[in-house]
Subunit: 221 residues, 2 copies
DNA sequence: CCGGTTTTTTATACATGTATAAAAATTAGC
DNA sequence: GCTAATTTTTATACATGTATAAAAAACCGG
């Protein structure tokens, strides 16, 4: 019982020895997602992949949500961290853009975002840089955190809403929206009516950066 | 076959007569949600409520997602529409706040947001007023739509992320986050480390309005 | 070697959304 | 009235996440 003994590799010498490990499960999950997309990642498929049974997985991850979170973690860990400009304001914007790009590059990220919020390990790098840049811009630490939070809401919202839009576009049922926008009441909704068909085009445009810069503009003193 | 006949009540005189209607299904869904929360709304339970079978529902709503969207619609239709200030900028902020409050008042709204985006009927009132106010503030219609869009991302993001946070707080497993924030590396993440325990407090605060005003500040000329 | 303890794995079961196909109930044409 | 067409309802089935409880496989003290 030497307290200075290596604490991690000190395996528990009791109980039935595990046939699979969390790492194996994660590695298998990566494989499955890589080749079949996140839609093909089911607990049963994953169990088959590691040569075990579905319920055995639950001894290594709490549930599927945690599994996805862990996948996202190591996706984020593998990302290049761009060099950030000196100027604090530019640094802030650049870091936020990098965060956004990271999320946008991972199609299934939405499923995790609605469940948890990326404040784990790899994701912290973005938070660190954004908060730090905000402080460098003259905000108090408290307001810098609030600023980060606002940027996070905006960013996560953009990712999620746009993903929803893409999903909607995928199955090509003529959307409720199109019908609604087709016959807008000019009396009660004159502005939208005057925009009419351009709405789809306009909202399809990528204005993340524009909005981000506006937000930053308003947040900084 | 008079083409000028009432087009809507002209019921189709052919085929097996329906035993349930979309309106009945919706009314039943409202009852179920009202008394048991959205979690208790299952297709089977709903079928039982209308005295039918699960699959019969699918002739009146496309799927559960559409059902929720319809529920949200008439929730929104029932909301009071606040009087808006004259000053366009205040009007913009007030309308956005009203939109946010509307969403925040509906706990299960998140499930719909991630699937579709509230651009249906009742939700349009907010869009109309926000876009119109933005134009009144001097934006072109195009930029006004973009501005609305940014506000929408920010708002939806706030609602979704905060809901996730609340859900996480509900089941009291000591979150990954707490553990992560407990031992931050002061070398690589000095700023977050210096904030440390205050992070939870700070991010728990409601800063929606603050962020909104910053965003509006930056969006308007 | 044996019974107890601990850990991991397995088996079984359930609730859910919904696909598919059959059945039922009506009208239209003859 | 009979057959075909049309619409709605029902029955059955499947994949999914995961709860629960039993089983298996290793350790320990005797």
């Amino acid at each position: 019982m030497d307290p200075m003994a290596q604490s991690v590799p000190q395996r528990p010498r009791v109980g039935r020895p595990p046939r699979i490990s969390r790492e194996e499960v994660l590695a298998a999950a990566r494989r499955v997602v890589e080749e079949g997309g996140v839609g093909s990642l089911t607990m049963r498929r994953l169990a088959a992949e590691v040569g075990s049974t579905p319920m055995a997985l639950y001894h290594h991850v709490k549930d599927k949500e945690e599994l996805l979170l862990l996948l996202l973690d190591d996706y984020a860990a593998g990302l290049a961290r761009p060099a950030l400009p000196e100027d604090p304001r530019e640094r802030l914007v650049t870091a936020a853009l990098a965060m956004h790009d990271a999320l946008a590059g991972c199609a299934w990220v939405v499923e995790v975002l609605v469940a948890d919020d990326l404040m784990s390990d790899a994701g912290l790098w973005y938070a660190e840089n954004i908060v730090d840049a905000a402080v460098a811009c003259g905000l108090t630490p408290e307001r810098a955190v609030h600023a980060y939070r606002s940027i996070w809401y905006y960013t996560a919202g953009e990712i999620i809403i746009r993903a929803a839009g893409r999903r909607r576009a995928a199955d090509d049922r003529p959307t409720h929206r199109e019908r609604v926008f087709a016959d807008l009441d000019e009396e009660t909704l004159p502005r939208l009516a005057s925009i009419g068909g351009r709405w789809a085009t306009l909202t399809a445009q990528d204005t993340y950066r524009q909005g981000l810069e506006a937000l930053v503009e308003g947040l900084l003193p």
